[in-house]
Structure formats: C-alpha cells, structure tokens
C-alpha cells in the first residue's frame, strides 16, 4: 500500500456550500441518537428503571386518598407524576451532565471546538436528544400506568405538555451548567447521581410530598423537580386533591400553582443558561 494517496474534494469548487446552524444541529442530533441508541443495554436499563420503580411504588404503596366528594385518588397516580418528573431529571440533568463531562475529558469537545461546527449546535443537539428520550420515556410510563395500574390519563393535556417541556428545558440547562461546575468529569459523574437520587426523595417522586415534614416540602419546592411533579399532578389528579392534600409552596397560598410552577421553572432555566454560557469550557481544566 505504498501508492501515493489521492484526495479530491467532495464537491467541485463552484458548488461550495455554506452549512448553517440548522444542518449542524440536524447532524449533531443524528450523532447523539446513534451514540445513545447503539448501546442496547444502556437503553434498556435506562428506560426500564423508572418503569420498574413506578411499578414497585405503585404496588407497595397501594393506598388512596379520599376526597370530600368521595372520589378516590390512588397513590399510583401520584407516583406516575413523580416518576415522570424523576425521569426528566435523569435524562435532562444527570445524563446530560455526565455525558458532557465525559466528552470534555476525552477531548471530544475540543475536537468539535476547533472544527467549523457552529458551537451552539452541540448543546442544541443535546436538547433535541433529551426531548426525544423524555417523550419516549413518558409515553412508556403512561402506557404501563394505564395498562397495569388503571391510572387515568391526564385530564389537562395542555398542562401536562407544557410542564413536561419547560421542566425538561430547565433540567437540561441545569445539566449543562453542572457539567462545567466541577473541576473534572469524574467529579461531575460522581456527584450527579447522588444529587438526582436525593432530590427525588423530597420532590414527590419516591415519597408523596404530604408524607414529609412541611419544612422539607418547602425545601423541595426550591428545586425544579418538585415543580415538574406538582404541575403534572395538577394535570393528572382532580382539583380537590390540590386543595385538600397539597401545600402552598413557600406559603404562597394566594398564588395559583400553575403560574407559580411556570415562574420557578423559567427562573431555573434562565439562571442555568446564564451560568452555562459563562462557565462552559470546551477544553479540560488543564488547558491554559
């Protein structure tokens, strides 16, 4: 194989193109999807875990609340909202933080940064991946909840949709910011899982909020996951539940919950985006 290698351009000189952001995002999405879905075990366990957890909680804590007018609200419905919220955090926050931290440490980011790729295409591609995965995961959870536990489908579909969307965006932004917050990829990976798990305990994902002391509930409502779960509960549970069982976060009993949820989630989104923008590094920390 000592013949001189031949190279030619892909396109003749007059047919030069100017690839833009959209085509770059499309390519990044394709790359993200291939890299994610080509790991079958990771895909399987990743999607199965929230479903299994949901099934476990719904089976073990098979109780219900009784509303003043006699309707029963089962814990399985509560847990559906909580599990979707947890899945959003896993996909948007934890997974994103881990992967970005890894790609920074193994110099993938650096290689992208010195290529002609428009830089925002990287994060936009990640966002699209998270949206796709979250939609799939939510659909799976809804199917299992309906089929095995007779959980009713959301009666406020629009609320369900925007809470999910805004929550995913806020979680992903937090993941991006977190990936740059710690000095190394390994530190970020080590920290992301415990944070995600602990948060689930006071966000209404593993334990209903009403079981927690009031101060801990308020603490939970500082973070986005509790609001995602709360917003989803509004779309899944009867209105009385919100009045009878849920607390007013931070004692703001005059404010309706959904606008408050939109406010908090948007605040998280904006703050995390600003943080991400100022702290994002394409090179690992040792680079000058």
């Amino acid at each position: 194989m000592t013949a001189a290698p031949s190279l030619r351009p892909a396109a003749p000189a007059h047919a030069r193109r100017s690839p833009g952001l959209v085509s770059a995002v499309a390519m990044r999405t394709r790359v993200e999807m291939l890299q994610f879905y080509r790991e079958p075990l990771q895909v399987f366990f990743g999607f199965a875990f929230p479903i299994v957890l949901f099934a476990i909680f719904a089976t073990i804590f098979d109780q219900s609340w009784t509303m003043p007018d006699g309707t029963e609200v089962k814990t399985s419905t509560y847990y559906l909202a909580g599990m979707i919220a947890a899945a959003v955090m896993t996909s948007g926050f934890q997974s994103t933080a881990e992967i970005i931290a890894t790609e920074r440490d193994d110099r993938t980011l650096r290689r992208l940064a010195v290529s002609p790729m428009p830089r925002s295409a990287y994060l936009l591609g990640k966002v699209v991946l998270v949206l796709i995965n979250t939609t799939l995961q939510t659909a799976l959870l809804l199917v299992v909840a309906r089929a095995l536990f007779d959980v009713p489908m959301p009666h406020q579909v629009l609320t369900f949709a925007w809470v999910l969307l805004l929550g995913t965006a806020a979680a992903t932004a937090a993941g991006v910011a977190f990936a740059s917050a710690l000095p190394s990829g390994r530190a970020a990976i080590a920290a992301a899982t415990p944070i995600t798990v602990v948060l689930s305990f006071f966000s209404g994902s593993y334990i209903p909020m009403s079981e927690l002391p009031t101060w801990l509930q308020h603490l939970g409502y500082v973070f986005p996951q509790a609001w995602i779960a709360r917003g989803l509960r509004v779309s899944l549970l009867p209105e009385q539940f919100g009045q009878e069982i849920e607390i007013a976060p931070f004692g703001l009993s005059d404010m309706p919950v959904l606008p408050l949820a939109a406010l908090v989630l948007t605040a998280w989104l904006v703050v995390m985006l600003v943080l991400a923008r100022t702290t994002f590094r394409w090179s690992p920390r040792d680079a000058g």
């Binding site: 190279l7 110099r107 290529s115 002609p116 428009p118």
Partner: protein, 309 residues
C-alpha cells in the same frame, strides 16, 4: 525599444505571505518559562518541523498557534488571522489534528468523518479521505474496535477533512509501527504536494529528516537552531572529535579544527594506534543542541560505547 503596452507580460507574482508567523512568543507556568521568547516563520506550502525532546515546549507552542492556549506575550499570525479570534468559518482553513481517547465510540469510522465533513464548506470526499488515511477497510467498523494507530489516523482524517490551508500535527506518529509511520509520511508529503502547509512537532529525528523542508530545534522553550537540516548540519557541525590511544590510555579531544591537533600528535608520537577523526552526525548535533548539561564529547562517548556497528 517598444514602449510597454497594456498587454505586456505580467510582473512575477510576489512571494505569498508566510502561512505562520510567530513573534516573541512566551508562556510561563508556575513561574517557569515553558516557551521563552521564540520567533518562527513558516512559508506557505512547506512542511515545517519543530524538533525537540519531551518537555521542550513544542506542544505548548503549537497549542498557542492553534488558539487553544493564550500566550503571555508575543504575537501569532496564522494565515493572516489571530488564532485567539477565529470564527467558525475561519476554521475551514485551519486543520488541527487533535488526539482524543474517545470513550463514546459507537459511531463507525465513516459516520464520524462524515459528521465533521458536514460542518465544512469544502471538505475532501469522505471515501477518498478514508482511503488516503489507510482507514478504507475499517470504514464501517465502530471506532471502539480501532487499534491505537488507527485511532490516530482517524484523528488525522478528522483534522484535515475541511481541506485546510494549514495543518498542525503534534507528535503524530507516536506509537506507530514502522510501516504505519512510512504510510503516514507519504500522506503528509502528498498533502504538502497538494499545496497544504504543514506544521509538525516531533521528537523523532528521522521523521523530521524525511519530511521537513525547514526545521527549528527547540529545547527548554528556546530555539537552538533554525533553517533547513543541511544548514543546521553545516552551522552546528563544524567541529571534530579526534581520538587515539596514547601512553596514558585512550584520549579524546573535540576541537573546531582538527588539523593543528593532528599535526601536533603526529609530530609527537610516531605511532598512533586507533587514531580517528570523527565529525558529528546530524543526530549528535541534535542531541548536543538539546542536551542540558553534557558536552558533545560525553554524548559521543555514550553513543560509541552503546552501539555495535
């Protein structure tokens, strides 16, 4: 004597500006000057080699030229651009071969190269590029299945896919087996023949000897020698080591001009067994330029005692 008409032969074109100009570049870490006031010029369409031992500052210098590190002082001009201020479009002109230990390696080789080609304005044809970098057989294989040398070749393919005018290569053949090195050298040469300027760092003298049109030898952040290799040989090789066995045992002396010493020796001693006059090889010159303490004589002794000719 006809007066010139508008259609006279055109003036000879001026020399194009250098591809890379580095002026008084300095970088310090923890109080230590890793790059110490160096200046370089790389003409267009040539292979320029930066040769030096590990820790000499080659990688830091290259990274500053690539825009990946900020200099403490000095200026860098790459194809008329400031490497710290490159926009994404500019990066079509500049090829950086970056090493990466890709853990998320589920893309195939072709998919990976096609990804980067998609970001470029005027990329090489992917199939031809894979063939030229010796990756044709592995085109459909996942990156995880590549050997170390194949991964490096992929790094090269990704670094040059944009058809850049200038390519930076930092110790590109480290870890390559001899056959792979040869193939790689041919690829670099063919790139140069297509008009690409190549800036290459290496600690392998044979690689620089084979590839480089011009060279700078760097040690401890400073340029010790610059020019073509034959110029360096002439400039720094003007000494000779005279050795012989005298009444007190083996003797060695390094002098700029051996003639007076030889005349003195031959006059004083009728018998001079093992008389030998050696001029330094390129390797010895290089080692002398980059060694910290030992004079040429010591190095020559080490070389002579270890090798078995």
């Amino acid at each position: 004597m006809t007066s010139t008409s508008p259609q006279t032969t055109p003036l000879p074109t001026e020399m194009p500006p250098p591809a890379l100009t580095v002026s008084r570049l300095t970088k310090s870490y923890a109080g230590r000057r890793v790059v110490d006031d160096i200046s370089l010029t790389v003409p267009r369409g040539r292979i320029f080699g930066l040769l030096g031992p590990n820790g000499a500052g080659k990688t830091t210098t290259i990274e500053m030229c690539e825009g990946l590190r900020r200099p403490d002082a000095g200026t860098i001009d790459v194809l008329g651009m400031d490497p710290q201020r490159l926009c994404e479009k500019d990066r079509n002109r500049l090829g950086i071969v970056a090493q990466s230990g890709s853990e998320r390696a589920s893309l195939t080789v072709r998919e990976m190269v096609a990804q980067y080609a998609a970001y470029c304005e005027d990329p090489w044809d992917v199939t031809e590029l894979l063939a030229a970098t010796g990756l044709a057989e592995k085109a459909a294989s996942r990156i995880a299945t590549l050997s170390g040398g194949q991964r490096r070749r992929l790094d090269v393919a990704l670094g040059i896919v944009a058809q850049p005018e200038l390519v930076f290569l930092d110790e590109p053949t480290t870890g390559f087996d001899p056959a792979a090195r040869r193939e790689f050298w041919e690829l670099i040469r063919s790139l140069r023949d297509l008009g690409t300027t190549i800036v290459l760092t290496s600690h392998y003298l044979d690689e620089i000897e084979y590839l480089a049109d011009s060279v700078a030898v760097i040690r401890a952040g400073r340029i010790m020698a610059e020019g073509t290799l034959s110029q360096i040989h002439r400039t720094h090789g003007d000494s000779a080591t005279v050795s012989w066995t005298g009444p007190d045992g083996p003797q060695r002396r390094t002098v700029p001009d051996p003639d007076p010493l030889l005349r003195e020796l031959l006059a004083a001693h009728p018998h001079l067994p093992d008389l030998e006059v050696r001029r330094p090889s390129l390797e010895e010159i290089y080692l002398d330029l980059v060694s910290e303490e030992s004079p040429l004589e010591e190095i020559y002794l080490d070389l002579v005692s270890e090798e078995s000719r």
